[in-house]
Symmetry: C2
Subunit: 609 residues, 2 copies
Amino acid sequence: MKTTFQSFDDVSDSSTCAPRLAALRAELAARGLTGLLVPRADEHQSEYVPKRAERLSWLTAFTGSAGIAAVLKDKAALFIDGRYTLQAAAQTDTALFEPRDLIAEGPGKWLEANAPKSGKIGYDPWLHTQSAIEPLAANVEKAGATLVACPSNPLDAVWSDQPEAPSAKALPHAFNLAGETAESKRRRIAEEAKAKGAAALVLTMPDSICWLFNIRGRDLPHTPFALAFAILAADGSADLFIDARKTSPELLAHLGQAVRLHAYTDFAPALDALKGKTVAADPNTAAAAIFARLEKAGAKLLRLADPCQLAKACKNPVEVEGMRKAHIRDGVAMAKFLCWLSREAPKGGLDEIAAAEKLEAIRATSEYLADLSFDSISAASEHAALPHYRVTRSSCLPIKRDAIYLIDSGGQYPDGTTDITRTVIVGTPTGEMKDRFTRVLLGHIALATAKFPEGTMGVQLDAFARRPLWQAGLDYDHGTGHGVGAFLSVHEGPQNISKRPVAQALKPGMVISNEPGYYKAGAYGIRIENLVVVRECADPGERKMLEFETITLAPIDLDLVEPLLMSEEEINWLNAYHERVRETLSPLLDGETQRWLAHATRLVQEESP
Amino acid sequence: MKTTFQSFDDVSDSSTCAPRLAALRAELAARGLTGLLVPRADEHQSEYVPKRAERLSWLTAFTGSAGIAAVLKDKAALFIDGRYTLQAAAQTDTALFEPRDLIAEGPGKWLEANAPKSGKIGYDPWLHTQSAIEPLAANVEKAGATLVACPSNPLDAVWSDQPEAPSAKALPHAFNLAGETAESKRRRIAEEAKAKGAAALVLTMPDSICWLFNIRGRDLPHTPFALAFAILAADGSADLFIDARKTSPELLAHLGQAVRLHAYTDFAPALDALKGKTVAADPNTAAAAIFARLEKAGAKLLRLADPCQLAKACKNPVEVEGMRKAHIRDGVAMAKFLCWLSREAPKGGLDEIAAAEKLEAIRATSEYLADLSFDSISAASEHAALPHYRVTRSSCLPIKRDAIYLIDSGGQYPDGTTDITRTVIVGTPTGEMKDRFTRVLLGHIALATAKFPEGTMGVQLDAFARRPLWQAGLDYDHGTGHGVGAFLSVHEGPQNISKRPVAQALKPGMVISNEPGYYKAGAYGIRIENLVVVRECADPGERKMLEFETITLAPIDLDLVEPLLMSEEEINWLNAYHERVRETLSPLLDGETQRWLAHATRLVQEESP
């Protein structure tokens, strides 16, 4: 079976580390540098970067989505967070790159202890945010060394076959999908920045720019970004800096007269023209190079959280309706896949790649699928215990009887982005599996049914999803919910639901995942993930309350549910959800899948112990 | 009935505002000042201050526990938080002091808009923390004015009958109550400060100092502080700055040789001797005067959260056992009071003051009572809807039939501090009252029974207590839990349980209140408050989990409970709690109270709708 949107090749090869590191060190020496920081980042600081920006993986062979290497003359370290401890150690050459804790230590403390006195540690100022570079510079200074901005990236000089920057056509995102004209968005964001005192707003985040200008692109796998920079003026007009190859007459017509197009490379020089003006930029997302250039140009800097992020996160009714439609389409694909899996898996012979390929093929039968929203996590047995597992030809496990299979996947449709996890048992589960699955489900239901006042942050709700596990001495080591874009990033801010206090209230229109889990290392893993939309309660009581509308539609495996652990209300929720799944999807399904779905969504009866 | 520890007199008289403000303005003019900040604070920045430091109430007639006035030549404002909006407007002369929002605006923004150009705004640097004064100075500068530290407080110069500073004897807090010697505490706190690089640690918080030196005092009503300053050296020896009248041969013997005693007034000069040393002080609690003096003296300042606060909050097993004993003693008093109330209230004729007096009299029959832990909140009918109500002769309401009565009170015992709220119905409740009371009880039970992993903060648990209200569109506008000291402050940090993210994990030994509520303005209010101790779960499952042990022992009014709203587990918790209350207290009670308690703690049966 051929898949279009994902590959299962082993992309990492640690044997390349030694020659590449040697080449880099030679280049650093030639430039008079004692070291270099190599982050996993591009000029736009999103989680998703083009191949050209995969410098960290080129150098260290570590392919995770977050990390940074610090290279000195005689030692080097690779900093990763807890998610990637095992993966980094397995992928990189640990004799060359010592894996270190990104959160507890980070490159700052490490350089403070290891940078040589009078050393010059280079960094590419386009690959670090202003907020990140300031404490790093202080750390390096404490070691008696200096952090030096490189005019060009030394690694790029030795990466001979570095891919070109992407140049795919940018596409208009139609009004019937966006629900608001770009002009209206630009006007209200400009008003917001103006109210804070800004004469111009520098925008660098790809999702902010795609949202603001109602454009999408194909510069990256899975995430429909058109990479660009923008400067929004106080009158709502804007300068958009984008590779000319990405434009088209259609795009120009769509952008209109108030958007002045410039070459991508003209962005930095354009900052000089802001001399004397109050210019807003987000220190947590905009590159240090931008702050340095604005300062040098004599602009008055205003540090301001990118206002597009919150505006974009609060979907309008058209976008919410698009998300619902995309989830019905995606639910049809999931039902067909789960039906196929329930028929084929017990026969034996299936493996993780075959299942992922089948699901992609089914999704691709939708005429609307633009891409998957990420590489599917297709995880059998003990692989399901790895929340960020990615199957490759060398890791691929068979899907066995009496074992758990977990599939976390999603699609990018023009009207919405989906992200769903289902965990199923092939054959018969153990009592422990049913206990754990039901606790995860109870947490999922507690969050799905929560009502909460305006102003409530995700950190206040997170424990609802964990309590059934906590009461049994169990927990899971990831967040419960991340924001999801509307045909944009499958992970988006500023909201989340996790143990970390993030000072962002949940607001109507925000889409967020509800995905508690349980992981037993070396044995099995469980996750139940639906997307929900924040909305106002119809019946608010004394106070205006918010609640979640679940928009993901696919059955939850009843063979893993223990009704004895559930209250009447919880069973009622499960039955009502399954009824909605069945009634929404059945008319769109073939006969076999309809029959399977009728059984998969059968009524659960309350049981007395 | 005579009460020793509380008075019900109306203490506030707005007619004094005009002459006092005029006198203050004359003094400011004589000193060349255009304005003055008058905070509700003393030199130690705790919530509890001696009468001498009640400058804000002397000037504005506002008697709340938090606030600040800003006085200019032609206008003045009184800044209070949401708790005190109504009270401030009622107490002060609003023609002279405009009530303003302390949180949304604060004196900083107000002075930025109102301070005259080139004006000199005075402040007493002993009454503001370093963290508070820095942004204030920036605000005043934006107005083109200057914030000026006053060498002596201008208000004190015109407050002719200002009370003396307290000089009550400081008392040793015995080892069998403290559970750890002062020497051991000093050694480990000194180690902690040393590990952060400090050669000396300046301590200013009264509860930190009383805890560290194992002393208590009677400088304030309700809170057993001996007011003093201290400097802890890296070797664990210390300088204690305390009014000589507070000392005694017994105290000196208790403190030992490693504690060098000095006059209270010698504290500031002693800071000069720290020249060249790295000195730690807490910018959020230590006075700006201390930072200024250390800087002038040439000390190297290290901003460090007062390490005694967390150490003190985590009670040792002896302190926890003392808290348990104090709560049994206090539970006996509460049972006697509630029994008396249930007999007398239906007859009519009782009022809020009579009830508060009776409860104090009963508590005072304990030979151990040192003080009440705060002025009782004795609130009938609509007064119960005011969470911070304090009854006075002029506000006192009768306790009526078929109405709610709420009593929030506590005792200071040498082995522990108590804080309990009970809400009772005299006669018959409405269905709404039962619904609301039961929802508050369900929230209380959800928090009381929570298990949670190490590292969990209060903000993550807060919603457990609110969910039963949220689901009905209801909420309450105060935190769910505050820390409580062991024969120290009834409100202590650093932990809490509230909507506000406070980055302090709950740790074993912490005592915290569990007090959800519901308030219907103008009608009635409900609060159920027990104290709990954080402890490790005996049966931790896969992970080390923590849980709460409820230590408050008094019946919860079953006439307000609607069992139809409760699950079997919740009813089981209520019955088990009541059984523990009955079995613990009954042997210590008279026959009448025993009989009443047996009924008050009767078994609740699960009911089917």
